[in-house]
Symmetry: C2
Subunit: 338 residues, 2 copies
């Protein structure tokens, strides 16, 4: 444990004040929170985002700091547009990607192009024009499939349950490989379910959590499929911290880390906590839909001790507090997200 939470600010500011940073997917849920944190640390932030209407991008996510970032609208597959943004940067937070599991069933080729092929092209670009760049990649715990046991550490077998997980795993593997082959300063964070302000809530294209938040806000019952399944929920600000700390930890390079928050809880318990955080609501328990069962991962809880040991990171937000802040955010910004 190098640093404790109270000590984070100093090394982060030392690293990022005045630093030229690029955030791909920076108009998205986690990317926008990360961009806000980088600005607060004094970084010069460029954002590259496709504003894909089926993804997590929402201009409302960056509205409060839109005039302080350089936004380039483009697809991560368009290496030509990315090239001038890579040159001269110190850090790349590489969050552009497809995250929808169901979406990857509908458009598997598109999913592979964005999550692996474009990532490989980007890495080739980095090693050519800016080999000193620090690159933090957004991976996913989905690659483990249905866990053998909880909690899941990084040595768990990789068993992708859907096309998205195959492509995300390949994209991550290229990041780690380019560290070993070419010395690129890469690290990948295998994210768990993330919640908080900025999550896409108008439908389930980003996460089931978004739909739950929306239904609670609209006074509709949360539809819980089954309810016994366990999930590990991370608050978006804690996840942004993880990206920042990953970038400044030399010992993290070339490695992939689970990021959780823990302890896990059942979806039934989560629904009750959401209702409590909102100050009201109801639950409707439904059978698990058959079209999702085939790609379902069962339970998940991250063992993220490796990441904590290397970076000193720890989640700072209790679930009840994070949920309350989430509802407060959407209540005041409802028109931007529904």
């Amino acid at each position: 444990m190098g640093i404790s939470p109270a000590d984070w600010h100093r090394p982060l500011e030392a690293a990022f004040a005045g630093a030229r940073v690029l955030v791909t997917g920076g108009v998205g849920f986690i990317g926008s929170m990360l961009s806000a944190r980088l600005l607060a640390l004094g970084a010069e932030v460029a954002i590259y985002d496709s504003l894909d209407p089926d993804g997590g991008a929402n201009p409302a996510n960056i509205a409060s700091f839109r005039d302080r970032v350089r936004l380039t609208v483009g697809d991560v597959r368009d290496t030509g547009s990315l090239a001038p943004l890579i040159e001269g940067r110190a850090y790349l937070f590489n969050l552009a990607g497809r995250t929808s599991h169901m979406g990857s069933l509908e458009k598997p080729v598109d999913d592979l192009e964005v999550n692996a092929l474009a990532q490989l092209r980007l890495l080739e670009l980095c090693r050519t024009v800016n080999p000193g760049l620090v690159i933090v990649h957004a991976g996913t715990r989905q690659i483990y499939g249905r866990p053998d046991a909880l909690p899941v550490d990084e040595s768990h077998p990789v068993r992708p349950p859907d096309p998205n997980a195959v492509a995300k795993h390949a994209g991550e593997a290229y990041h780690l490989l380019y560290h070993r082959l070419y010395g690129l300063a890469t690290v990948s964070l295998r994210l768990t379910n993330t919640y908080g302000p900025g999550l896409r809530i108008k439908d389930d294209r980003q996460a089931f959590l978004g739909v739950w938040v929306r239904r609670v806000l609209q006074g509709e019952p949360i539809e819980v499929w089954g309810g016994e399944q366990r999930r590990d929920l991370a608050y978006v600000e804690d996840v942004a911290d993880a990206f920042l700390l990953a970038a400044i930890a030399p010992e993290a390079r070339g490695r992939a880390f689970n990021i959780g928050a823990g302890p896990s809880l059942s979806l039934g318990e989560l629904a009750q906590l959401m209702i409590a955080a909102n100050g009201g609501g109801s639950v409707r328990v439904l059978p698990f839909p058959s079209d999702r069962r085939r790609i379902d991962i069962g339970d998940y809880e991250a063992d993220d001790r490796a990441f904590r040991a290397v970076t000193g990171w720890a989640p700072r937000t209790m679930l009840a507090d994070g949920l309350k802040r989430t509802f407060d955010y959407y209540r005041s910004r409802r028109g931007d997200y529904l």
Copy 2:
């Protein structure tokens, strides 16, 4: 153990006599041997091959049966050309791919396109136009990287040491996933070093073994890098048997299997066996080249018991015999391969 080697012919003939079969990469080393075996079993064989000058394809490989197969020249990325060949087929032996590890460092995007993106498109095509097709995919042991211990079974962690292994693993993962998601009858064979007639020997783009065969034929010393490393060598006819048996074993579907031959031997021992098989030759021991060290896997020996148990397969060719047949082949066909 369902069937013993002596019993293979009957079930294979029952499955393949009159069957409409497509072999991608069928002008290549293993694909051409497999096509010859399929013809001998009475199958109606179509071959799809790009005839890529940097790959394993050599018209000499199919010269003896060229008039008995339907050959379509095309890239596996060209789904439009593949579509009419998929319809109405009973079996697809999917061997088209990039196999060069060094080549994947030079052209990683091309490697990913061929070994994963094209494979995914092909699977999408199969599930759309011919969901009953039996598909056997050529995987590779390269995905394991540097083994933790020998022999290596299928539960060994996947640690791709080069771009080729990342892409081949993704291509395999899609095959297995499409079994689970859509019921496609897929199986993948993780091949070890394969030798025998038809191997590209004019350079090292297919395997180091090719260069060794060429140097022995030309009376030059075999250049052994180090020599301590262990390899598991499989004779091409035995590998062709493995593909055939994999196709007719329902219990194999949705699974990936190591294919070896065993026991492993050191490269120094292999060089001596080659010299003995040829009736003369010499060895020059050189240090391991630094540009290959970074992607080198160290030792390898397959634990292929799972495949043997499910299919009854066993290698039938002793290394000394296989090497002798290899040299006999090239001595009579030198002009076609050098």
